[in-house]
Symmetry: D2
């Protein structure tokens, strides 16, 4: 019953790239506690060095997303050269308009024009950085929202959001793009200004062609059929990027595929179905927190999870599926679908990795490398990077 990966599948897998977030290598936690770990980077250069390890052992992570101001440096050309020396590039630039005291009541939606302008200016600075780093995408996730009914006028905020985004969008040049991420809730608890794909879609549609939606797999209401949204945004031509992670409850930011591997499979099936695999218009990124597990192997595990599940999605026998669907054979169609999911692609992928000069088992190769021990020994003193850094 079970099928095998073909050369065409491997060709598709060989092109796959998953951007890793610089902040995943720093400490993170919950409102209750941020636990530190030996070896945690103290600056953007060390973060990129760690990120490069992920690419080294997997061949899957050629780009590193950065976050401003967490990754602010004096010389972005030097940061870019540092990355390139390590075999990776700088990817998406992520803005941050939620950690300044001025943003307590909003940023791009703020009622006070001076604060709103400050938030817009921050995004313009991010575009300047994109110019320096050669990054294509500006990713905007807003913490904007309110905690209590009546606290603010949601509609006026939506209109100001449009105005702010338009002014940022107008600053983009060449191939640059703006991707707007939506999130169900947190840190705001009553209303969030960009809470769902519909809002993100409506806002980016009002901007222009180079404005797109970013879908974070952890940012939906309980029970949401995420692959449906993937399908719909691809159909509408507005899916710009993925932030992969997984969740049991809220925005848990766990390792992609850890909480519900079958959901990840279904998402990747729609990615393939919708022509988004190896499509430069749709970026694959991670956005995760390794609160208690080791960060570099946590990232290695994550990109491997995406790769393995993509392989399963590729295995899906579309001809058999379509035949069963056409016959309204519910059980037959589901069986074809599940067959791809249940097939163990790991041995074939291990062999293929070796054939490409990569370790068959990137996790143990990294563990055996001694890198973790080395950074733990060397990175003594200084402040470990974290969200607050």
């Amino acid at each position: 019953m079970s099928t095998q990966l073909t050369p065409e599948h491997f060709a598709a897998l060989a092109q796959q790239a998953v951007e890793v977030p610089s902040w995943a290598y720093g400490n993170s936690g919950t409102r209750f506690k941020v636990f530190g770990t030996p070896g945690t980077p103290r600056n953007p250069f060390e973060k990129i060095a760690d990120a490069a390890q992920v690419h080294r052992y997997t061949g899957l992570a050629p780009a590193v997303a950065i976050h401003i101001p967490w990754d602010r440096v004096d010389d972005y050309a030097a940061l870019r050269a540092h990355a390139e020396d390590l075999g990776v590039t700088l990817g998406t630039v992520n803005s941050n308009a939620f950690q300044d005291d001025d943003y307590k009541f909003g940023s791009l939606t703020h009622a006070d024009d001076a604060i709103r302008q400050k938030a817009i200016d921050h995004h313009l600075e991010c575009i300047d950085i994109m110019d320096a780093t050669g990054s294509r995408d500006l990713k905007i996730w807003l913490a904007d929202g309110t905690n209590y009914p009546g606290q603010a006028d949601m509609r006026a905020r939506q209109d100001r959001l449009h105005d702010s985004l338009q002014r940022i969008y107008d600053r983009l040049t060449g191939e640059q793009r703006l991707v707007l991420e939506y999130k169900f809730f947190e840190p705001a608890f009553y209303h969030t200004d960009v809470p769902d794909w519909g809002t993100s879609y409506a806002q980016v549609s009002a901007l222009g062609e180079r404005a797109l939606v970013c879908l974070d797999t952890g940012h939906h209401a309980p029970g949401t059929n995420i692959e449906f949204i993937v399908m719909q945004l691809l159909r509408l031509g507005k899916l710009g990027s993925f932030d992969f992670n997984s969740r049991f409850y809220a925005d848990d930011d766990l390792i992609v595929g850890a909480a519900d591997p079958f959901q990840l499979f279904r998402i990747l099936v729609e990615v393939v179905r919708g022509g988004a695999l190896n499509n430069p218009d749709v970026s694959f990124m991670l956005d995760q927190c390794h609160n208690i597990e080791d960060k570099i192997p946590g990232q290695i595990r994550s990109v491997l999870n995406v790769q393995e599940m993509t392989a399963r999605a590729l295995l899906l026998d579309r001809a058999a599926l379509e035949a069963a669907q056409a016959a309204h054979d519910v059980l037959g169609a589901n069986a074809v679908y599940m067959d791809a999911f249940y097939t163990d692609v790991r041995p074939a992928l291990a062999e293929w990795r070796e054939s490409r000069g990569l370790p068959a088992d990137p996790m143990s190769a990294y563990a055996a490398s001694g890198y973790q021990q080395r950074i733990a020994a060397e990175r003594v003193g200084g402040a470990q990077a974290s969200w607050g850094a």
Copy 2:
């Protein structure tokens, strides 16, 4: 602290109308059991007679939505005359493409062109009926979806949905409109073809100006901020109508305001804020099931709940709210907001009703009327109306 209803408020309330659904007067239930009640209507004429009672005691429900085929009659002119004799009109026409065996695997999205055409034709018939009844709105709620991953190609269904809707939309004439309702889940359990406002918005936007979204307050994922969607759809000019009801868990279809009165308040605040109160472009309707309670008083209670909560929404002191919002006085703004909610508008509304020749307490006036006893005695024999009818 608390405020009072003014003549302007009463003028607004006097114009308010809530359309009632003919099917609420028939029996309904769950998949486990449909309980019958003495006096339940046996045909559309009796349903409209019951609906007219709601208007008689409240002055709030001048129109009755009908559902085809449940309300199919030989002579719609006669049904219309019957309604008008009783002081009400026929309102929105609701289609039904979920109770024919052919629709087991879809209707407007069906892969088989013959079945899809049948579903389209059903909607064209509904428009014919609208021509006869003088109804403005065709409301489409689709049960279409699948139960198992892989069962169908979601994207192809979405494309077929567009094609079907376009062919229906093109048949509309004059002031007629199409409103497309979305629903999170049920009766399909894996995917639903119109599951969220974003999908409904994308689909109706592709049709034209007279295609709009219908927001049923019970059709969202747990925790969804519904008033945000109300705000957004009004901002986008695409909110066509409300289906009011309330819920604790899924699409419970309980009496509007029963499960979360504060949520109803917040929704109506956005209705007022967004200019949708007494705006002919936005219809207010009920869509409820009175599984265990008496149906006519259940409907009276419902329209009163909408009226009372609208009165509270009108009481909101917008100047004070805006001042507190501008000062970022979170507690102050919330206090202004809650003050309107906690004000007891019932005595003032009772007085005002009497001044208009309506009973102060419509519930007890109806109970005292003997109507319920009369229909229980008279409606003997025949098959009670229900969803299956």
Copy 3:
């Protein structure tokens, strides 16, 4: 990395039994529509004949649960003999106190003593039937609850529930047991009298040793960690039985493992961990609805899903897991855990089935048998069995 099924594993799998529900072979649906299918049984004898097919092709389903009154017959000895002739036995007896008009406002919790006595008597009748069929377990799922706050006194209902259950429990003899199922919501929408495991646990603990909890995998709030409850109930010695199925949203009653296969794996890992596999004190049952798919193959698929996932749970390398856990190696422990899940046990199970005289692929063997066509041809006329029957 991946492991193999051993003779010990196969020995455990050989003992595994999953009771199938007679009602799964009849029609079911939602409140919107019940679709019929050719060949659907018209009476309990035909249901059992269909159930026996599941056992015939899988060797996994030696017992059939019955439901009173849906499976009421004049002569239970004849029904038992019929089952035994077909190679199966009659299993759990399920009561039904939700389809009589008297139960509109409750059954074992009803405020009216006469109606409550009627519900108690129904359960005593079920125990009489157990005496005749040789069934061990009386399973009680109650639809009791309310739709509106204030409708009833929840506490008094809880006290009456205790009294009713005590009177039923006292009637049990010998090895007979009472298992009390809990359910989050539906058909009641405001409160349910046995909504969670805590309530079921408190109620059965007050009865005695032979009263236990039934855990239906679809009866929890969104996001509930079900395997935790399995662990806890096993730890407390109070898990009597499982009702397996799967769900995306509410109590969807889909095929077990279909919605979240990884959750099923986690549950079965706790089953093995807690000593519940092949433990006569813990029954495995299905409780599903095949609304749109064929019923017999739907059941075959279901018991196979349980078997396959049990095989994966058995594969879990507990020594390696414990070592990683002891080292607080989060990623290492999770890797051991996921390795078992991702291993493809299907080829080994197919071989093993053949070695036992069963078809390697029960689904295609059943399809090839012609049984479905035969019953479709033969079962003409009469009323198809359904929940209403």
Copy 4:
């Protein structure tokens, strides 16, 4: 229709006390940002001074819960005297076993006996402090849990939890009690060791009579009927205390009554129904975070919300309710219930406050007092208290 507060009601309200948490006066936030505010306390003495303001203006908050180590001082007798000088007492002692690096993988459930002993010892220290402060209750909320399936053995942790709790419980003397709080999720994302009331109930039942459950209103799965749990725990004699707050999504820790005032009403109706109002065995406490609003008025608003909603619960006409319930008059019973909720008790409470020498409007009295400006001016320098302090 609406009813009035009677002298008996006021007598009950006069006895009502709501304990306030010292940590609510310090800064709090989300994982994204903790915003500071001028005037925030720098030490436990200042926190208690702020808490005393709440009692001063409301007469409702005579006790202040403390949290160890956040409120660790050298001399608890001095802290107690300070509190008493300000007219309040020290209340519940809250332990903290989640902010030490040792607790990364658990505390009372930890697999390592040395760390587990450390956590036990921390609780014994808390009991020592209770001896010094005269506090009755030790409240235990555990952050213990795991983020990834397989990370730990849930059952062994449960057994160790029992052992740890037993050793803490055995140290209690006299009237001292242990209350165990449960929480659905956060900060652990896969499993939480005390996730639901059933687990807390099973654990405290195994300890003895002076071990009870603490119900935090924000710690449940979406859609949970919390008043049912209140009813059940009161029925079982195991409800020790409430942590009041409100939520839209997760454990938002918003002002009690802010998110769903009707839910608070329903809870308080069950409190009254179950004899828990003014019952010394059941403590009322707040547990909230004022992330963006002013803290002292946030607390004043909160205790007033509890008071106002208690007044509405007292207004419930139980005779009328019981009559409607007995007649199975669903709409009638709900109308009696809603009548109490919709009655505006605020004017009568304002009058009553004045009659007792309290301000009619505690919020504006506090605002007018100048206290907030005074502390903002005086509390300059030092580290503002927060969860990390």
